[in-house]
Symmetry: C2
Subunit: 302 residues, 2 copies
């Protein structure tokens, strides 16, 4: 399972029961939280997200609609008895704010937070099963996008064919990496007899808040799914530019440039009650678009 | 109109669609906000509170469930174009937190915030129409309760009787204060001919978070309505004491000691799904109790 669950799809002011930005990415047994606007902990409860499974939180920038819910979520995790450590990747100043808030409340969390200030760009997490990297966007204050990539062994074992050969299970990982097997007696099992090429690994780019900024398409080139903000419709392209935001059409143009398979758009301005126009506008530029709707989980590929 | 609208009635962790603490007190044309847990700005929208009418905010203490929603509310007020100044009464450290949060967002609010650190006890606001005072409660960190008192002129003009005398309208305020009127020609209109005693002024005590603490009954003696926390039921009296909270029965005992007319109880622990027992327990000690339910406005007297 690789999917994105939207917890908040609105820009700065909550409206029409749309909430400030937050989304949970599920990759097999891992949950990643991207941004954490006010009310995220309530949305997590509403949509039955297993908060104990969240071990990584990424905050794109320090505008309130992207992080005001974080301290509440952390505090509640503590009250609920969490002991597992949590990795928090965020702009450096957030650490000072959180520490101050914990201090004035005389609160000591029962779990540790490994705070990682965001570098300009690069890999943040690298495990055998996935990686997460960050890249800069163009916003009024420093802001980062993130890419989650699953990692797959290049080859998969053919369960039927492998039964014809006496390859010990301990060697399976090396088979997946493409090695041939040689038995003690010198018998060779060629890799291509018992494996086939794995599918290509999937990836998701969360592009946070940004002006229309073509370098994003380069960073996120070829991702399976891209989320891009679309705060305004095209008639407000000037306002979008002034406020360091993007129109639905521009978001679609970035998706096309990036050659992604699927685009999600969100971060809608509170001035819009209805969202249909966002979809119509984006589809005219890039075919495979969805509105990022709260409570919905969007699958990444396959 | 003098009333209390409950926006959040739950303790630390939001649960069962109950929200962390916040309440709006309406006194004629004034709105006062007492505490501002996470999600308060959404609750303000949900219950159609006119946020532009809020000129005074009081924060009882710096546990997150009482203030994490404040920065979001202030930011949204700014985005909505507020220019009227706002008075904020809170523990001193809150100013540092708010300033830091505004700074990292490069946000300059379009209205000014007059920050008033809370004194140990005493009058915070004193106008011809109302006053607000604070008093200490007994909590794990410094915590304050607040009392709003309406101010009334001692006498009211009898609209029928006044028509029999030629008293200029400009003198009415002095009549309300009990003065006799003497005309240019030396004719006396005795105060008691044209006025009658006003009703006694109403008052509301918001007692915030606290252990069972009898001095509260002294500070809030004789208030028309008292809100007192009731985090637990009596069987958890030990836990209440350990965690600096109160049971429903203890809250009722304080109300009885204070000789208030009406008690509201709230700040229910997330361990309770149903609240009926809180009412039953409190009523056994003090008859006129209501559960503080979200979205409900409770009138103060008359």
């Amino acid at each position: 399972m690789f999917g994105i669950t939207i917890l908040g799809n609105n820009s700065a002011i909550p409206a029409y029961d749309r909430h400030p930005t937050a989304q949970v990415v599920t990759l097999n047994d891992q949950l990643f939280l991207f941004d954490c606007g006010e009310g995220t902990q309530m949305q997590i409860t509403r949509y039955r997200i297993r908060r104990s499974k969240i071990h990584y939180i990424f905050i794109s920038h320090l505008h309130g609609d992207h992080y005001f819910g974080l301290i509440g979520l952390l505090t509640s995790m503590g009250l609920l008895g969490r002991t597992q450590p949590l990795h928090l990747f965020a702009p450096a100043e957030l650490d000072t704010i959180l520490q101050l808030q914990l201090k004035v409340a005389a609160t000591e969390l029962p779990f540790s937070i490994a705070f990682h200030p965001l570098p300009e760009a690069g890999v943040l997490v690298d495990t055998p099963k996935f990686s997460v990297e960050c890249f800069p966007t163009e916003h009024r204050i420093p802001c980062w996008g993130f890419i989650v990539r699953e990692k797959l062994k290049p080859r998969k074992i053919d369960k039927e064919k492998i039964q014809q050969y006496a390859v010990p299970a301990a060697f399976y990982e090396r088979l997946k990496n493409g090695d041939d097997y040689e038995s003690r007696t010198g018998e060779i099992v060629r890799n291509e007899w018992v494996t086939y090429a794995n599918r290509s690994p999937r990836s998701y780019a969360y592009c946070a808040d940004t002006r229309y900024h073509e370098p994003i398409a380069k960073y996120a080139n070829g991702v399976t799914v891209m989320y891009h903000e679309a705060t305004y419709l095209s008639d407000l392209a000037d306002r979008a530019r002034d406020r360091f935001h993007t129109t639905a059409q521009q978001a679609a143009a970035i998706a096309r440039l990036a050659e992604t398979k699927r685009l999600l758009i969100g971060h809608f301005s509170s001035k819009y009650d209805q969202l249909d126009e966002f979809l119509a506008e984006a589809v005219s530029v890039f075919p495979n678009v969805d509105l990022a709707l709260e409570g919905v989980t969007y699958r990444v590929g396959h």
